[in-house]
């Protein structure tokens, strides 16, 4: 599903070069649940951005579902993000003052799904994350845990190849965080491929495989 080969990312700021990723190679197959761990500055966020087609690498190649993402232009990347990747962010990133239902429909509207189908799917996914009675609440009327569940519903609507979660429990209390992890576990059981960034070990435990980064390199890659 994901095939990363000799991936490097170097940030140039004036004359200072910062190596964020240094010759990283790994593969993720269909149905895996991978946690990427590492201290801050280890390059895990950079890796996440590249895997999410939000950023491009300096060197190396990245194949997602057989397509070489490193060779695509801005609009093609947007298409990849829309159709193949489902994002779950640490800060939920819902549209402010917009209802849960409308938030969930955003990716589908960019993906050209007809309106009736959008509404049907959005309701279906909101029900799945247990928010059927909160559909018409705007994002500021929802708790953090509820907002993150809206975000998960939003990530699922386009039936993506992988779900990318960036510290999905980072802003949540422990109990709510565990609830969110249960949802991920369930999704993985249903066959979804999940790549999650976290620096909390008890959250990483939910994954089947843990990749640890240090100084831009893979320090450890083990089954859980």
């Amino acid at each position: 599903m994901i095939k990363v080969k000799h991936l490097s990312k170097i940030y140039r700021n004036d004359s200072v070069e910062t190596v964020a990723l240094d010759d990283v190679s790994f593969e993720v197959s269909q149905g895996e649940f991978v946690a990427i761990m590492g201290p801050s500055g280890s390059g895990k966020s950079t890796l996440m951005h590249i895997l999410g087609a939000l950023d491009t690498s300096t060197a190396g190649s990245y194949f997602l579902d057989g397509e070489d993402v490193s060779k695509l232009n801005d609009d093609e990347l947007a298409d990849i993000r829309n159709k193949k990747i489902g994002f779950v962010f640490q800060a939920y990133n819902l549209l402010p003052r917009t209802t849960a239902l409308k938030n969930v429909m955003v990716p589908m509207s960019y993906g050209g799904i007809p309106k009736e189908e959008r509404l049907k799917k959005a309701k279906e996914y909101l029900r799945m994350v247990g928010l059927e009675d909160r559909m018409d609440h705007t994002s500021n009327q929802l708790s953090g845990g509820q907002q993150q569940r809206v975000a998960i519903a939003r990530a699922l609507t386009m039936n993506p190849k992988i779900i990318l979660a960036d510290e999905p429990t980072g802003n949540l209390a422990t109990v709510q965080g565990l609830e969110i992890m249960e949802i991920f576990k369930k999704l993985n059981k249903e066959g979804h491929t999940i790549v999650m960034i976290t620096h909390e070990l008890n959250i990483a435990k939910f994954a089947k495989r843990i990749i640890t980064l240090r100084d831009g390199k893979i320090a450890e890659d083990r089954k859980n």
């Binding site: 951005h49 999410g52 939000l54 950023d55 801005d74 609009d75 947007a78 298409d79 993000r81 829309n82 159709k83 994002f87 962010f89 990133n93 549209l95 402010p96 003052r97 955003v106 990716p107 509207s109 960019y110 993906g111 050209g112 309106k115 939003r154 386009m158």
Partner: protein, 407 residues
Amino acid sequence: MELKELFLESLGTLTLNKMRTGLATLGIIIGIGSVITLISLGQASQKSVQNQIQSLGSNLLTVMPGAQRSGNVRSATGTITSLTYDDAKAIASSAQITTVKNVSPEFSRRAQVVAGRNNTNTQIIGVTPAYAEVRKVSVSSGSFITQRDVDAVDKVAVLGPQVVIDLFGKGASPLGQSIRISSQSFRIVGVTTSKGGSGFQNQDDMIFVPLTTAQKIIFGATNISSISIEAKSAEVMTQAQDQIGYFLLARHRLDDPSLADFSILSQNDILSTASSVTSTFTALLSGIAAISLIVGGIGIMNIMLVTVTERTREIGLRKALGAKKKVITYQFLLESIILTGAGGILGMVFGVLASLIIAHFIGLPFAISPSSIGLAIGVSGIIGILFGWYPANKAANLQPIEALRYE
């Protein structure tokens, strides 16, 4: 994403911040409103001037004295006393001039007029009976100046209705009473019908006396101020102008037309001069109003830039969720077009109302052309695109991670 959907979404975003949206739109409302008001007032005053000039008579040619050159020095028109009553008589009786219907020599000057305890300063105009024909003047009571009055140098006067009101009060019948013009007593023999004119050369505010009386008794002059000539038809106006010109040149013993001590104005000349003056003014005023429109456009751009900065995270998120550049550009462009479009429509309503009210109060005919409405909507749309383009592009070119990280 369909355009209709984007439109509804932009509309939704704009209604979230009503105060800001309202203020941004206000700039365009004022800009479009003042452009429309000034254009329509300009057109109205142009129409009004045309009506006034046409009400002075039809197929009218005016011979004015002066504009004589000596060497390169050209004197001001009207300062030369080169036209006489005899010139007018000669034009009227000449066999060479075939295109002229009526010839009205005139002598006009302002003077103080006294009636009992009232007095006024008004235009005294010495005329012959032909004046009534040429200038389409009729009397509502009594009679106009007759040839007999002119020949006998009678001290009789025909008053315009405004003069009657000024000297005798509203509704008074001054026939047979007397007024004093420059210490001479005049018997009132007629009152003219109101023409309802206003502004320059108000024909209701004049006193008509026999031409000879004006020259010899009131002002002590031998010349006349102008000759109004009615041509036989509109088609022969140019021909009449030529015939009179050559006739007068010969009569004044001038070989070179450039040395002419008179000038002949046709009504069309006056009309086009007046029109060009009013349209210049209209253009000038509209230009000033257009500046406020540009300022309004810059206001829109400013608001859109603030909006883009404020919504950087939202833009980043939308891009992360698969929005292409084009969609983001359209979204922000639509917002600014909606702002200016709404401003344009409201400004148009405001402009039409304002010009209706102003036209009503200063007594101009109300004129609004469909072209100025099209202009308002077109211009505001263009301003929306022009000033929205840069902010929209800025939004579309944001890098999704930078935008997502933005706090």
